[in-house]
Each structure stands twice: as structure tokens, then as C-alpha cells.
């Protein structure tokens, strides 16, 4: 008897739970997914937004820029976080499902090229030197620091970098090697940047790259290498990955804009509209707080105008990772 009543209670509880799920369906929910690089900014905005509008539920996932676009183009999410502009194949996928999008820049991120802090010989590296190290042709060759520049130690350079699925990998290869995804494969790769940090911190002859936020948190064990792109029109290098250099456009080509893509269909909903406006109004302070470089005020104003006008499409023409886009250029493209 007691056993039976126990089952009844359990079934009753399940029934109530199912009933409650009916209520859940009518709530205002904003679904966001995409890049892990943009995630900290979106998380900060979502947190602040929910304290102002507690009736709206914002949820943020991490499935990478590309993985996020797959869901976005199926209409499964309202907003996609992206660490690179949308690719033409992704634009096609959106078109196929009648999804228009508004592209909005939210901040700048710098990639840091990093060595161990006991490395006292590297003062700066040029982009062509980086290319020599990372291009696919270098695969299998044991490369010493002395091969790079005379006078540096005759020790093998141990390489660390992100895995091939990451947007950072795609951007770095495009910027340094000249083609997205083209890189030597014989380096220590990890999707977890902290693994790279650990690896470089324990190896005097290591060299690696990742988002600057990971360098800033580990300055006691790591050293950021100054970068010179040998183009004096961008300023006479080399330059460190500081916010000033990123904003002035001198830390090139390793500074990149970050974006959110908003589905035009979702923008018809009041809560999505409110959220995106809130995002652009607060991105400046929040991006800085979580370790990114905010855009100039003018860029956010232009983005807000773009949002109000519901201007859809990408200003990058579907090329994907586009290195060397300066703030001025971004503003100019935004304004038109």
C-alpha cells in the first residue's frame, strides 16, 4: 500500500512539472549563441540587462562562431556572437531560410604573440618572421631561434596555438600566413587557452598566440612580443598589444573587431529590440570591464543608427576573417 502511494506521489509530481512547462512557453526568451571570444561581453550585457528587465530571460551559449551561425541560419537563435565577419556560405544558408540579419560591431580584440618571461632575447617580431614560423611549408622543419635572427639562441622554438576549430586560429592564419586555415600542423594545439598559457609558462623557448585577455591575466609568467607589420603607413612599429595601439590602428594585423548578428525577424520582438539597444549603449563600459578594447563612441552611435534603420547585410561582403580593418575603415563602412 505504502509503495503504491509512493508511486502516486511521484506520478503526481511529474504531472505538475509537465503542467508547469505549459506556463514556460509564453515567456520572453532571448536565445544567443556563438563565439567563445565574444561570450564574456554578451554575458556581462545579459547579466546587466536582466537586472533592469527581470521579466526577460536571456540565455547565452558557446558553440563557436561557425557553430553559432549554423544555428542562427536555421532560425534557432535570435543573436549570434561572432569573432569574425559572416562568410558567404553562411550568408547563403541564412538566405535559404529567409533570415535577414543586422551586423553590429561591439568591441575590438587583440591577439597576443607570447613567449616565456625568461626569454630575454626577443624584442619584437615582424609579420614576415611570424609567417616563416607558422606557414605550412615550415611543417616538420626543426626551427631554432637562431634561424630566425642571428645571435638568438640555437634552441628549437616550441610552438603553441589554438585548435583548428577556433576563430582565433582562422584569424591568425589569415592575418599572418595570408590564407584562413593554412598553418603548419606540428604544434601543440589546445582549444583551452589556459593549456597554452601553462605550456608557454613552463618552456623558456616556447612561442604561441591567443587572445590578449589570457596574456593580461598571466603577465607574471608570460611576455607579449611586440609586432611590426613593416608597413609604415600604419605607424612605425613595432607595437605592443595595448588598448591604445589597438584603437589607433597601429597594432596590425593582429587586432580584430568583434560582432553580434541579430536576426531581423527577432528584432520585431520588443524584448530583442530592447536588448540589442541596451547592448550597444553599454558595450563601451562592459567590454572594457571584461578585458576587451571598446570601439570609439562614434562607432556605437553609427551601429545604433544601423539598428534603428534595420540595415541588413554584411559590410564585409562574405569574406569571413578580414585582417587589417582599422577603426576608421570600420566607421566608414558602417556609415555607408
Amino acid at each position: 500500500m505504502s509503495k503504491r502511494s509512493g508511486w502516486m506521489v511521484l506520478l503526481g509530481a511529474m504531472f505538475l512539472f509537465l503542467m508547469a512547462s505549459g506556463v514556460g512557453a509564453q515567456e520572453k526568451i532571448i536565445q544567443i549563441d556563438g563565439s567563445s571570444t565574444v561570450y564574456p561581453i554578451t554575458e556581462a550585457v545579459a547579466e546587466e540587462f536582466q537586472s533592469v528587465y527581470p521579466d526577460v530571460k536571456v540565455m547565452v551559449g558557446i558553440s563557436g562562431t561557425g557553430g553559432g551561425f549554423k544555428k542562427f541560419s536555421r532560425g534557432e537563435t535570435d543573436i549570434n556572437d561572432a569573432s569574425r565577419p559572416i562568410k558567404s556560405s553562411e550568408i547563403e544558408a541564412c538566405k535559404g531560410n529567409n533570415i535577414d540579419f543586422v551586423e553590429l560591431p561591439v568591441a575590438y580584440d587583440a591577439l597576443a604573440v607570447v613567449v616565456n618571461n625568461q626569454n630575454n632575447w626577443v624584442d619584437y617580431l615582424t609579420v614576415s618572421e611570424l609567417k616563416k614560423i607558422w606557414e605550412p611549408e615550415a611543417q616538420g622543419k626543426s626551427f631554432t631561434w637562431a634561424d630566425l635572427r642571428a645571435g638568438w639562441p640555437k634552441e628549437k622554438i616550441n610552438l603553441f596555438g589554438p585548435g583548428v576549430d577556433s576563430g582565433t586560429f582562422e584569424y591568425f592564419t589569415e592575418a599572418v600566413v595570408g590564407e584562413a586555415g593554412k598553418s603548419r600542423g606540428d604544434y601543440i594545439a589546445s582549444e583551452d587557452d589556459n593549456v597554452l598559457v601553462q605550456g608557454i609558462a613552463q618552456d623558456k623557448y616556447a612561442l604561441g598566440y591567443f587572445g590578449v585577455a589570457y596574456y593580461l591575466e598571466n603577465q607574471d609568467t608570460l611576455k607579449a612580443v611586440l609586432i611590426d607589420n613593416e608597413k609604415d603607413e600604419d605607424g612605425k612599429g613595432p607595437f605592443a598589444p595595448t588598448p591604445e595601439n589597438v584603437l589607433q590602428g597601429t597594432y596590425q594585423p593582429l587586432a580584430r573587431p568583434l560582432f553580434i548578428y541579430v536576426s531581423a525577424k527577432s528584432l520585431a520582438r520588443e524584448e530583442v529590440q530592447k536588448f540589442v539597444t541596451f547592448y550597444l549603449e553599454n558595450a563601451r563600459s562592459l567590454a572594457q570591464e571584461v578585458g576587451y578594447v571598446p570601439l570609439p563612441e562614434r562607432a556605437y552611435e553609427l551601429a545604433l543608427e544601423r539598428l534603428k534603420a534595420r540595415k541588413t547585410g554584411s559590410i564585409f561582403g562574405g569574406k569571413g576573417a578580414t585582417p587589417g580593418v582599422s577603426i576608421e575603415e570600420l566607421l566608414e563602412r558602417e556609415a555607408n
Binding site: 508547469a20 512547462s21 547565452v60 551559449g61 558553440s63 598559457v197 589570457y214 593580461l216
Partner: protein, 295 residues
């Protein structure tokens, strides 16, 4: 007849072998325990200072000291419970059929082979299946139910295999006695086989819980999210779980988030241990009620 001195030597050697084997076994035990304890102590060191009531009651935040695991904690419990509610009845049913009803032929061997193969499939594959089947085809969305059904598929082989093994341990003489008195197969199964097999089945449930509560990859695939600052109010609501939250915190650059991850790992361990203890208490209770006797 050999002299005593001739016999002493081999005995001596045998005793030595015995001691060496014992020492090796102890080293093996010590190594595995040492690894486990190093891990636990390391995590306790990082995580215990971070554990407090606020940490359990707060939603995720960009401020590591304000961030908590409330939504992940509740999500983990819900997902695990629904997974068990779905997987156990189906798994036990399948196990009963295969052991008590199915006739041995090529079909049952194929089924058997498939089940053991499924047990070894990487969990991310179940995630891909769950995404297409539950999230997209069945239109459940990125919900608790979709996540739990995916995990249920993942743990089904464990439930089926442990059910079959514990049913097989029930002596045939018991069934034969019941059949001889005119009981149907269903009566034999319900009144004799299942009660005796129950403790073994609960062992399977314990394994199920441990597996389901620790999974992150298939849930991320199905669309469990990382930042969820509200509780699911029904089985169709979005959710997050502890392993996903831990994964996210571990990959952050700020060290304060790593401490949060350690604290969340302690909570996850505590939840797993309490759910498991519940099953163990139940198992002991049933062992006492239906003690396995020699038949």
C-alpha cells in the same frame, strides 16, 4: 622420502612469491588512491574557501566573487532525475525481455551485439543524434526534456546490461518451481525474478546517475547553454548543468573563475555521492527484504 631441509626451501620461495604479489597489489591500490586523493586535495585547496551559501544561491555572473551555480545545480538535478525516470523503465523492460522472453536466435545476438557496441560509442555522437532527433525533428527545442532524453539514450546500455546480469544471477530452480505450480511467465518475473534482481538493477541505476550527472559534451551539442540566469520552470525550458558551468569557468583567463570551477566540482561530487548513497540505501533495504539465499 625427502628430507625436511629439502622441503623448506620451496616453501620459503612460495612464501616469498606470496609476499611479492601482496606488495604489488598494495602498490596498485596505493597508486590509484594516491592519484584520486591528490586530485581531491588539489580541488579542495582551490575550491573550499569559495564555498558558501551565496555560491549555491547565486546565478552566473561576470564577477567571479558574485557568480554562483544555482541554475546549473538545479539543472543538473532535473536532467539527472528525468534521465533516470526515462531510462530505467525502458532499460529494465528491455533487459527483462532479453533474459526472460527472447529466444536465442540470430536476431537476439544482433541486438545483444548492438547494445554492447552502443555502450562504447563516444557521448558526443549521442549529442549529434539528440540534436537532430529531439531538438529538430521532434521540435522539443533546447529543453530539459531534449537533454534528458539524449542522456537517457546514452545510459540505456548500462541499465540494460546491469539488468540482464542481475536477472541472470537469479537461480533457474526458483523459476522452475514457480512454473511447476502453474505461474505464468509474467507472474514469475514480477513476484520472484524482479524482487531478487532488484539490488543488482539498482547498482545499474547508480552507474547511470554517475554517468549522466558528469556529462557535458552531448548536452552542449543538444543546446544546453552556458549563461542561464533563471531556473527551468518546466521540462520544455532551457537549462544549464554543473559540468557545463565548470567547463566554462575553467577556460576563463581570470584565476578567480578557476577557484569557482573547483568549488563547483566539489558540489558536483557531493551531489553525485548523495544521489548514489540514496540508491545504495535502497539497495541494502531490498537486500534485507529479499536476502539472496542458497536454493
Amino acid at each position: 622420502m625427502k628430507k625436511t631441509s629439502q622441503m623448506v626451501a620451496p616453501i620459503f620461495r612460495r612464501y616469498w612469491r606470496e609476499r611479492i604479489f601482496l606488495a604489488l597489489a598494495l602498490v596498485a591500490l596505493f597508486l590509484s588512491l594516491a592519484a584520486l586523493f591528490t586530485l581531491l586535495i588539489d580541488i579542495a585547496f582551490d575550491g573550499v574557501p569559495r564555498l558558501n551559501w551565496q555560491f549555491l544561491r547565486n546565478f552566473p555572473s561576470r564577477h567571479p566573487e558574485k557568480a554562483g551555480i544555482f541554475s546549473a545545480f538545479v539543472g543538473s538535478i532535473y536532467v539527472t532525475l528525468i534521465t533516470v525516470l526515462v531510462a530505467v523503465p525502458i532499460g529494465v523492460g528491455a533487459g527483462v525481455y532479453l533474459e526472460e522472453y527472447a529466444t536465442r536466435n540470430w536476431l537476439s545476438s544482433v541486438i545483444e551485439l548492438s547494445i554492447s557496441t552502443l555502450g562504447g560509442v563516444p557521448s558526443i555522437i549521442y549529442g549529434i543524434l539528440g540534436l537532430e532527433l529531439f531538438v529538430r525533428t521532434m521540435r522539443l527545442g533546447r529543453s530539459l526534456l531534449a537533454g534528458a532524453l539524449t542522456l537517457a539514450l546514452l545510459v540505456l546500455p548500462i541499465v540494460i546490461i546491469s539488468t540482464r546480469e542481475s536477472i541472470r544471477a537469479v537461480p533457474p530452480s526458483l523459476r522452475e518451481a514457480a512454473f511447476s505450480l502453474g505461474a505464468t511467465r509474467w507472474q514469475v518475473t514480477k513476484d520472484h525474478v524482479l524482487p531478487l534482481a532488484f539490488p543488482g538493477i539498482l547498482t545499474g541505476v547508480i552507474l547511470t546517475i554517475s554517468r549522466a550527472i558528469g556529462e557535458a559534451a552531448p548536452l552542449i551539442m543538444v543546446g544546453a547553454l552556458t549563461f542561464v540566469a533563471f531556473l527551468p520552470r518546466g521540462i520544455l525550458d532551457p537549462f544549464t548543468t554543473l559540468p557545463i558551468q565548470i567547463f566554462n569557468w575553467v577556460s576563463r583567463p581570470q584565476k578567480a573563475f578557476h577557484a569557482n570551477a573547483a568549488a563547483a566540482i566539489i558540489v558536483l561530487l557531493a551531489v553525485t555521492i548523495s544521489l548514489n548513497s540514496l540508491s545504495i540505501v535502497l539497495r541494502n533495504y531490498y537486500r534485507k527484504r529479499f536476502p539472496p539465499r542458497a536454493f
